[in-house]
């Protein structure tokens, strides 16, 4: 939920708090409490665009090309925004992503 500091832009229950605290923010981006918030990063391999007709014709074993090359980096997306890119690595018997680029969270 977006909470604005502009007068009249906050839900009524926040207006009381604001009046008593003279506009002082409760949280900042550096607040420790935010550090424990859990988020999920999605590792996206790529996209493929198919028409509905092609989609309905898909069978087990069908090979569909993605818009990514073999050595392209995998995108890590947070809430559908790219925040980093990395390469696929194998660690023991599992997949892993080694971070190569880090971007701004949009």
């Amino acid at each position: 939920m977006k909470i604005s500091t502009q007068t009249g832009d906050a839900p009524p229950e926040l207006e009381k708090t604001r009046a008593g605290a003279a506009g002082r923010r409760i949280l900042t981006p550096h607040s420790p409490i935010l550090k424990d918030v859990r988020v999920e990063l999605d590792a996206k391999l790529g996209l493929a665009s198919l028409s509905v007709q092609e989609l309905l014709a898909l069978n087990v074993g069908t090979v569909v090309k993605l818009d990514a090359r073999l050595n392209d980096l995998v995108e890590l997306r947070l809430n559908n925004s790219a925040v980093a890119r990395g390469e696929i690595v194998a660690i023991d018997d599992n997949f892993g992503i080694r971070i190569v680029e880090i971007g701004e969270i949009k």
Binding site: L34, K35, D36, V37, R38, V39, E40, L41, D42, A43, K44, L45, G46, L47, A48, S49, L50, S51, V52, Q53, L55, L56, L58, N59, V60, G61, T62, V63, V64, K65, L66, A68, R69, L70, D72, V74, L76, L78, N80, V83, A84, G86, I88, V89, A90, I91, D93, N94, F95, G96, I97, R98, I99, V100, E101, I102
Partner: protein, 259 residues
Amino acid sequence: MTYHARDWLPYGVMYREPVRRGVEAAVSDWARRWFASGRIGVSNLLVCSTDVRGELEGGAWRVTRQGIALDIPRRSLQSLVEKGLATSESGEQPTETDRQLLTEFERRLIDDLSVTLAAQLSLPHETAASAWGRDPFGGKGGLVVRLSDGNGPDLAALAIPFEILLPFCRASLGPSDSPKGDLEGLLHALASIPVMIEATLGHFDLGLSELQELAVGDVLLMNRPLGDAFDLTIAGGQRVLGRAEMQSANGSLAFVLQA
């Protein structure tokens, strides 16, 4: 609120076949059994959107157990008796016995027409006890059928509430019950619409502090064994289309659909 196609029908549907045909067949069958001349038939069909008091000529509608009502004015009843009993007007004052016979005749006449109509139009056989009332439609409207022998004013009026007649109309005139969510009929229009398929290798669950400290060179371990199939999603990741394995195809990354 969602309104389904079968929840409503326009009032005009009452004027159309097979409603008219069904009513006419029932009236014809009833008249043939009761009246030697058999000339009584439907002179008019009228849809009333609210109540039916304006159509009443007698003292009250007789509402049958099928919920259908008939209004037979006194003058018409005498005429119907003459037709039914093949008697002629004698000019004598009716006795109490005559009146009782007349009332019984009227009751049987009405009940039989109601049963005949219910059978013809597949209406519910019994909805409530028979009664007399000023508005058998309960203010909700219905179909008024005027009966005539072709000589002079109409003999009687028949009132069939919408709520009784609608199941028949829906079954014979309403839209079919197409299964919801079936896009079969729209395929020709949908065929070329592009759908984006996303190949997602997996997910990482981490805290904002870990995200903040993420640096180039760090490795995020995925809880997914090598060679395990990954998810294919559509609708912005909201729907999983299926599972697939990675493959190379002429230097590009590709997926192979799994069962």
